[in-house]
Symmetry: C2
Subunit: 508 residues, 2 copies
């Protein structure tokens, strides 16, 4: 593609994206296609001759778009929304255009140094401990995802707990244990499997039933018992805003216990951490100054498109010692001088995209003020939504909701059966999602089927939250009617296929 | 940023990239900045107020570009070039714009199904074994990098070798061993550390001094001795085009031995694998039909910008069993139906960018014909370059060069000292790189300092290869003169600072 063709097709793509955002609201949030439908629309084999660019956008519209679940839709309230914004898309476009590898300082000094500076900026914006800055003993780096962050934290923790013995001898050199709350992200368990200690090494901490926060007393018990039994505690993962319910663990108390037993304390604040851009929400940083590592995802709730996980360590030497390997073909004078960071030694892969560019374009475009306004708006909407739930006796709130995630259930009612209520909740969620008018997902809270309302899309306004509530509220009323019909038809031997069908599709 | 602002700034960025490519040839390939220089050009803290987009491109020009090593430069011959092209940049731009997460089928069915189809297309283009197709028991997936690919191959191999015991009990449940040639990529060693078996579990296979290929006889010896000593062989990694020298291991013989001992055979064809788009180069696929997994990087030499590692397995069930974890908040009807792929279970992280789009735009734009022409052009240039080296008695070729990598050294000459020749080679490389006119890197070949000429940038034409050769050739002549001067000055007690300085900067 010549530069002139690139200019022409580039403009078409830019316009396509702008048009997509302008028309987004009219599309169903959750894709309505069946398995195999998109595959069937694609040729079985690749073209022999080049086809030009013209057909791409047409096929995108006709074959791909119907198969998309629109994560940038203003009525996307599922999982945690993953922000994409104009400045981040353009920063990322520059990274694609430059097409460089920032694995070593020398392979593009600006890629390393812009990343160092952006992570320092972000540490300032979030008021993270001074020790995390590159000018101290720590430092920040962009990881692919929070899963990668907890994996490298675990590898560094094992390296440190073993005095470096795992590097050659592996994790069989000790019996290493890991601790986290049952509310934590599944990536902690996945990291235990990948890092070779297995899930038997993972202890799930009990949570306080009111706050869903990990109980330090339980951690203390487990640590004492494990050490007595010959285990070596390597890592404690504290969640600040756990995935299921947004639970906030008591970082300081967990850190104190971790350090008493020589374990590494990693804070997974993947979703919630960025809220600390707002001074009034900085209480979420309590205890973080005691962490060995910390991660939060600008690619979730800070206006930066995937992938951009910000990961800091208090002692970069420990991380580098765990991950550095220097083959001959990567040796170079700059690295050997010790004056530069080589970020390949801070992560699993070798290759690195120039991801700092999009953080730069985002932080410049919004400024601290704009970032705060973004977070504050969602928190306010979530509080309002929670107040509607609280005021409706057909629903109950299941967890604290200080930020932008509200977890609730269909109320069992006085003397009612929680199983029936959960069944109604499950069907309600499936129907809302199948409508295409909003998309929410669920979790389990202390055995209850919990609907998660995660507010965080850039385009979400009050009217979208209001409409989602209306949809939920109206459908529960209908479902109650349908339910009694189904009960009647079951009683008369019918298969009630309609009520089963309501659970199909992609409600999750 | 409103859609109208996005259109305007989007065009500016598209134009900036087109201009960048048009002016690329006049820039020094290797950045000439000193450590800290880019940092000094960046504000110490983030802006309080948003600054608009205007300043970004200006600062990019003045602060960032001087700190870039230009990987898309036609005279970039270092490491392995990492292709970026118009269609891939635009495909990636669409992925950024859509901003979706393809972790589960249900989170965007088209993201999963386009990826499945594109990996099937690519398997067809490379004539990979039918068993790797999604329609058979295998399947392909895009990984972040070849490092991630070998890591998940190792995790799957350990899971299989242990009969699933590693999942809970970890790798301490057995003494697992891994085998690969001393020429292999450092990611194999890094994977051993991350996966918890440690580097003591890694056996480096001797290579044939003529071909630098792993010796199956050595693998046979090691396997027998290890099993006798109670080790459990888990993984053999065969390289098809090893990083240092492009060595090609005998896949079939290694696979046969691996399978005899129950080990997994992974083929790392990160750089060279894509050459199989050309029928006359398909001999590189010999034995691949016996592999358990295979990876090659379209983001190196197949016109697709980073990241895009294509990874196939012969038995997807083994991979999924090793990596699948299903927390409540990810449960959904589609996944439970078993009718769909959830690619999060094929990789380390949970989140997934819509990377199949850029593979789609690339394969459509170039067609099979265009891909072949791209590979063929580079192979022909490399053969011509090698002929110039061979014809110049001051140099010697150090390894076979059937594809686009030529590894050579300054000749020791009749009765000459190899150390002196290597010293001259090291200085020559530093000078060529410091000139900014070309960028090459080095490796070690059987103790010799080897210069690597890796031809693979999209913009590289014959004149760039010719100019690089001229530069190398002329500078060696000058260096020889300087060398005798330095020898003279050393003899007279001078410090010869100039000849030391020549080794500074970023020659690697």
């Amino acid at each position: 593609m010549t530069p002139e063709e690139f200019r022409r097709h580039g403009r078409e793509v830019i316009d396509w994206i702008a048009d997509y955002y302008q028309g987004l609201e009219s599309l169903p949030v959750l894709s309505q296609v069946a398995p195999g439908e998109v595959l069937d629309g694609l040729p079985a084999g690749p073209p022999e001759r080049g086809q030009g660019f013209e057909g791409v956008l047409a096929d995108l519209e006709s074959v791909i778009v119907p198969g998309l679940t629109h994560w940038q839709h203003p009525s996307f309230f599922a999982f945690f929304p993953a922000n994409a914004t104009g400045p981040s898309i353009l920063g990322d476009l520059l990274a694609s255009g430059l097409g460089l590898q920032g694995m070593l300082w020398t392979t593009s000094p600006a890629a390393t140094e812009l990343e160092t500076r952006m992570l320092d900026w972000l540490a300032q914006l979030l008021d993270l401990p001074a020790g995390f800055r590159s000018t101290a003993a720590g430092g920040g780096v962009i990881q692919h995802s929070a899963s990668d962050a907890v994996l490298v934290a675990l590898v560094a923790a094992l390296h440190r707990a073993s005095g470096g013995a795992t590097e050659t001898g592996g994790v069989g050199t000790g019996r290493f244990s890991v601790y986290t709350s049952g509310q934590s992200h599944s990536s902690v368990e996945k990291a235990c499997r990948i890092a070779g200690i297995g899930t038997a090494a993972l202890r799930k901490l009990d949570v306080d039933p009111a706050t869903l926060a990990a109980r330090p007393e339980h951690l203390a018990e487990l640590l004492a018992a494990d050490v007595a039994a010959g285990w070596m505690p390597a890592l404690v993962v504290a969640s600040v805003g756990a995935t299921g319910t947004g639970a906030l663990d008591p970082v300081s108390e967990l850190a104190e216990l971790a350090h008493r037993y020589g374990a590494w304390l990693h804070v997974d604040a993947a979703w919630a951490g960025v809220a600390a851009v707002c001074e009034e929400l900085r209480w979420i940083n309590a205890g973080v100054e005691q962490a060995d590592s910390y991660c939060t995802n600008p690619h979730k709730w800070l206006l930066t498109n995937f992938d951009c996980t910000a990961f800091w360590v208090a002692d970069r030497a420990a991380l580098i010692a765990a991950l550095s390997i220097l083959p001959e073909y990567l040796r170079n004078t700059a690295s050997e001088s010790g004056e530069v960071f080589d970020y390949r030694d801070w992560q699993v892969p070798l290759g690195r995209r120039f991801r700092a560019l999009k953080l730069w374009t985002v932080l410049r475009w919004y400024g601290a003020e704009g970032l705060r306004a973004h977070i504050r708006g969602h928190v306010a909407l979530a509080q309002e939504f929670a107040s509607w739930v609280a005021a409706d006796p057909r629903f109950e709130l299941l967890a604290p909701h200080p930020l932008s995630l509200v977890t609730f259930a269909v109320a069992a009612g006085a003397g009612g059966d929680a199983d029936d209520a959960d069944h109604a909740g499950r069907r309600l969620l499936a129907e809302v999602n199948a409508s295409g008018r909003a998309y929410l997902t669920h979790t389990q809270v202390l055995g209850r089927f919990a609907i998660r309302m995660a507010i965080g899309s850039v385009l979400t306004e009050r009217r979208h939250v209001r409409a989602a509530w209306q949809e939920i509220s109206d459908r529960l009323a209908e479902a109650t009617v349908a339910d009694s019909r189904a009960t009647n038809s079951r009683a008369t031997g019918s298969d009630a296929p309609d009520s089963d069908a309501a659970d199909s599709g992609a409600a999750d």
